[in-house]
Amino acid sequence: MGQDAFDEIMGTTGGPPPRAELAALGRWLSVTSDTELRRRQQSAEAAFRQLGITFAVYGDSDASERIIPFDIVPRVFLHDEWARLSEGLVQRVEAINAFLDDIYGERRILSEGVLPADLILSNPQFRPEIAGIRPPHGVWAHICGIDLVRTGPDDFFVLEDNARTPSGVSYMLENREAMLRLCPELFREFRVAAVDSYPDRLLEVMKSVAPHGVGAPTCVVLTPGHYNSAYYEHSFLADSMGIELVEAVDLVVDDDIVWMRTIAGRVKVDVIYRRVDDDFLDPLVFRPDSMLGVPGLIAAYAAGNVAIINAPGNGIADDKAIYSYMPDIVRFYSGGEAKLPNVETWRCREPEALKYVLDHLDEVVVKLVDGSGGYGMLVGPTASKAEIAAFRAALVAEPHRYIAQPTLALSTVPTMAERGLAPRHVDFRPFVLTGSKGVQVVPGGLTRVALREGSLVVNSSQGGGTKDSFVLMDDAAPMTQTIGGMTQSMGGGA
């Protein structure tokens, strides 16, 4: 299906020509030899390996040594495209925050019949344990990663909302570092918005949601530890924000206040960016059998003495079973139609939808509502007969656990493949920050690319790679890029 897809740089055969702004990238690709591109790509990957930017795959014993493949050809968003995307993202994230505030508070959206109550109330992602607690400043989803796909010049769809602990932002930053170092000519050609302010912005957001009355809040990053697959990102973020990277054992709660244990004694903690799941936050509340977590943390949170980023209980907002209702949720809280549409979704819990899905299993993508990372997923057009049969049986047995979507012709971007540049399908995860002063979209994000020809699965655990994502600035905007702490001004000379 690669032939039918929209290529973001080359355009579509027979379709409209690509935007003039992108011609320069096409030229760059044609004048830079494959050997040279490959050399730069290898150099970037060697640097990542040295830095230890690794991830672990479940069940893989030497997981900690693996890096996510990096592709040297950037993906480009034009200024006006980005402006439209940003509006849609802001609207969506505002709705997610309003939804969480409502669902753990008054539950107006249920009493007004917009969502079926049992969908929420019986969903394991709805956490009764924290019902009634309102986070400081009413912010729930401080960091959202909204996964988008594109099928045409103006056709963006939200594939998934990530409102718990979205990862991947370190790749956005490291990929840019690598591109600045290896392809400086591209930054003369294009006026690319800087992403390196992300840690500062995040720290600002963290400080902005500190409990009321805290002058200079102490912020920390909470990691499950160095065996976690995303540990590199945790330490990277803590280091670049200049704050402590703590584990549960470093924190104690006393008198409903959270403290960290340092060599100079206890230090009060006001804001925790946690990269651990709800289940492992506080054994007194979530998992009485667990020795992990910080006993008393939820009591401190309920007392309003600490901000937890993102808030516990957020899973209900990005649950796949809720996803199909997002247009209704956006409408309910924003009063307008969603600017970013969802991908059409069949809820297999509904008999008619189930019938359609069973009749079209070889065309659709079927997903487990409680699965993630590309596991528990059927891609109809590329699946074997046996896989389809297995999913058919599973769907009939437990239809409520599945949703299905049409197989989208995801856009492609030229990518360095075995035999030179070739189109490969991509998706995109922008990062949206919400603090007490509002919502902001970081101009960039993580482009994931399915490296296998024709593949639509971009997950790093399933053979996906990453690319830098350029957001082109308005001509009027000032342009700076910092490299390793030094600021390099780039005039319009190129």
């Binding site: 109550a117 109330l121 009634g132 006393d254 409903d256």
Partner: protein, 265 residues
């Protein structure tokens, strides 16, 4: 009735503990048929106590104690005025809609044997009648066991036994009620008995009936709770409503000693 309650919980540790954090669900709240006249929590060591409320609406007390601690004793003394209610709850502050209580937990996982039995009990009768029949049925099925419950025992496993503690009977009731579509929850609290001191607080169940509200069922008696019951905390299962949830920092094991006396004042 005016009920006087003494509830002593003592932990002894085999090795001294550096720190102790506990969440106590030991404070009853006022409702139409229950008025707390006097209530105290005393701890036998230097500890900080903080009042709060959990997601289920229960009053909780966080207890923070610095070690080294060889043990800790929590003593409750209180007086509660209760009145007759036919088991229907009135004036209880509810924080969550009833359907939340259709959820299962590991201890109250759906069980085919319990569900089949419950379906039989519920066949052809209105919901309230069905629940009363389940309550009486659980009571009749098991010999009473006044010992300390096994915290690992699930409702499904308890169903296969000949005797049941109040806790196990209440969890079986909850599983049965949920299987016929009635939201059900576990209640921890106290019950005044003619007998002397008991080794555990009491536990029973509540189920939600459309048009009527939450109704109490005590499978230990086969009847609805009456004036001699004092409600303290609710949750999906006994662990969730446990009087003490604790975490300690230190090696070794612990020995738990509980004494409960409830009498008419």
């Amino acid at each position: 009735m005016r009920l006087s309650i003494h509830h002593r919980t003592a932990y002894r540790f085999t090795a001294p503990q550096a720190r102790l954090v506990q969440m106590l669900r030991l404070t009853p709240q006022n409702s139409h048929d229950q008025t707390v006249a006097r209530w105290r929590i005393d701890v036998d060591c230097d500890a900080l106590l903080r009042e709060g409320r959990d997601g289920w609406g229960n009053a909780v007390t966080m207890l923070y104690a610095e070690g080294p601690l060889d043990g800790i004793e929590i003593a409750i003394t209180g007086e509660v005025l209760t009145s007759h209610s036919d088991g229907v709850l009135h004036g209880v502050h509810e924080t969550l809609p009833p359907p939340v209580f259709l959820r299962a937990t590991p201890a109250t996982a759906p069980d085919p044997a319990i569900a089949a039995w419950a379906a039989e009990m519920a066949s052809g009768v209105p919901m309230l009648t069905a629940l009363h029949r389940i309550n009486a049925g659980v009571h009749a099925r098991f010999a009473p066991d006044a010992g300390r419950p096994d915290p690992e025992l699930t409702a499904g496993k308890a169903w296969l036994r000949e005797s049941a503690t109040a806790r196990d009977a209440a969890q079986i009731f909850a599983v049965a009620a949920r299987s016929i579509g009635a939201p059900a929850r576990y209640v921890s609290g106290y019950r005044c008995l003619a007998r002397e001191a008991r080794a555990t607080p009491h536990g029973w169940a509540e189920a939600h009936v459309d048009g009527l509200g939450w109704v109490g069922f005590d499978p230990d008696t086969g009847l609805s709770p009456e004036e001699e019951h004092v409600r303290v905390a609710v949750a999906l299962d006994a662990v969730g409503a446990a009087p003490v949830a604790g975490s300690r920092l230190g090696e070794g094991d612990e020995r738990l000693d509980v004494e409960v006396r409830v009498s008419e004042a």
